[in-house]
Symmetry: C2
């Protein structure tokens, strides 16, 4: 008991007794056994981190990295360790997600789990809920029935503000290109975009954002857009495609970037571009997820039956807006016409 923390033990033991026990522990080399403690109903001080891809990427995406910085820092702060449940990127061999048999038992080694990944697997979520396993998602998740605990980024507000800014610059034909139109995060972006346009009774124009940058540009020209809001995954490509047609931002097209690229933009032939857009507070989201999960665990331990007076389980952190040089007033009609012809040349 002297080894456990908590209010009850603190009052019942004198500091001196505690000291002596600790000293004895030190002397005998006693290690304790967390597996036993876990089995008997105690906690392990281990938090799981489930990802759908390796967290130490080779060259490709550094998507997880900032999240994990935040998670690790906060975990260190609370003196808990991290158990990485990394999913294989190749979907074969039945090890997909946390649904596979072998995986599931391991979850219990951690007190709870932070779920991380662009694409949520509904089935995984349902299983976690069915087993009453404590978890927190990074990124907003929706499911019917249960309320999913998550730490999300304020995509809607940030997109609203940026779209609003385009409107204020005098744009009337503002397009939206979303890379994952069905994903919660892009749904949030769409909502912010529409809200801003509705205020001014402007027509929403949604392009196919899943296409290549060149194809998105083509759509933008065909539909005579003067401004475009685009998700980060295609922004660099769009930039290159514009370059190929000798089009410039914002002279020919104002563009806002909805999010920041996962890896630092290499710049390439056309160098660094100072995007107007927003950044996702990934590190803070990671840290907040740790705090939320820890809160959930505490609440669960305490009451388990009654409604715990816990803080909100759905937190949205604001995105960082960055003023860049990719937006301006719409081109004059003449220029506009010229461009469109240029872009549509067969």
């Amino acid at each position: 008991m002297a080894l456990n923390t908590g209010p009850s033990t603190r009052t019942r033991l004198t500091d001196e007794t505690r000291e002596r026990v600790l000293a004895a522990v030190e002397e005998t080399g006693y290690w304790g056994n967390l597996a036993a403690r876990n089995l008997a109903g105690g906690s392990t001080s281990v938090l799981g981190v489930f990802t759908y891809e390796p967290v130490f990427p080779h060259e490709s995406s550094d998507f997880y990295y900032p999240f994990l910085q935040g998670i690790e820092g906060e975990a260190l702060h609370h003196d808990v360790d991290l158990l990485l449940f990394t999913s294989s990127p190749s979907q074969d061999s039945g090890r997909e997600g946390l649904t596979s048999w072998a995986r599931r038992g391991r979850l219990r080694l951690a007190d709870g789990c932070i779920l991380l990944g662009r694409h949520s697997h509904r089935r995984d979520l349902a299983e976690l809920i069915a087993h009453d396993y404590p978890y927190v998602f990074i990124g907003r998740r929706e499911t019917d029935g249960a309320e999913v605990p998550y730490v999300a980024a304020g995509y809607e507000d940030a997109t609203f503000i940026l779209t609003r800014r385009l409107v204020d610059h005098g744009h009337h034909r503002i397009g939206l290109a979303l890379e994952f139109p069905d994903h919660e995060s892009d749904q949030d972006r769409r909502r912010g975009y529409r809200r801003a346009l509705q205020q001014e009774h402007l027509e929403p124009i949604e392009l196919d954002g899943t296409a290549t940058g060149a194809a998105i540009l083509q759509q933008a020209l065909e539909r005579r857009l003067t401004a475009l809001a685009i998700t980060a995954g295609r922004a660099a490509e769009l930039h290159h495609a514009m370059d190929d047609l000798s089009l410039r931002m914002p002279a020919d097209l104002s563009v806002v970037r909805l999010g920041d690229p996962e890896k630092a933009d290499a710049g390439g032939a056309n160098g660094h571009l100072d995007w107007t857009g927003f950044g996702v507070p990934r590190q803070d989201m990671g840290a907040e997820a740790v705090r939320m999960l820890l809160r959930r665990l505490r609440d669960k331990r305490r009451t388990d039956g009654s409604r715990p007076p816990t803080a909100s389980l759905q937190v949205t952190l604001p995105c960082h807006l960055s003023d860049g040089s990719t937006i301006g007033p719409p081109p004059t009609p003449t220029t506009d016409f010229h461009l469109t012809m240029n872009g549509l040349a067969p």
Copy 2:
């Protein structure tokens, strides 16, 4: 039993039975409990990774990153998860190393542990051995008594070859600057260096490599060196210091770099330098450490009493040599004299 793998269960159950059990498992939503399995003597399929610093660094050192790429990739391949035991960088609050009480019990949640970090803490090692806890070090470690299992880099051979190359270029006054002279890895470098010089009966000249790059250069000039072998941590600084005195590699001083820098060299004012030196196979070392630990665990489970016919527990992986442009023949005596005067100007 149908859920366990292994040769004995495979012969005793028909595939069909197995299928049916698995189906039932799927239906009932049975998860199993690894903590219980662990306690009862089974394995958890979890490998610990102990580091003395956060593994997701903010900007500073990416020291751990390549190791962890290798570890994670290999772990994925063997279907085991990783439990990160990250040590706080600040030494306060008694959470130092794995020696602290709270830490130790958690080790048992993992089947074994990979130890990672520049500075080995003797006490930690002794404790692991005392508790018969399976571990593998990344980097050579020495201790009296027990044979420490490790995966090391072939610093000695690589340093030997590079020093030899300097000798072959006609250098006679070749210096050595080690950043951590007492560390096993630098001891290996020293051995390789001396071996190469002894063959030609040249005098070893060891500078104080713990000093700044400028101070190391000063020593090199004072001692009239024509070539220098230097560890990666000070190489860039040396380069800058030479630049400040308008000295060039290899015209004024041939330099070999013993290792690669932890983070990509920013280049700075004097741009990219094509170092002659060697690189540490960090990723391979990480992967090999996983394999070695898994081997140890298998052996332990099998026999536990008799000597297991295991492969070597001390593996040294060769470093990658890279031909660069920082070595050449020694300067002519005239040039040499001039330089020395220059460098020593009061």
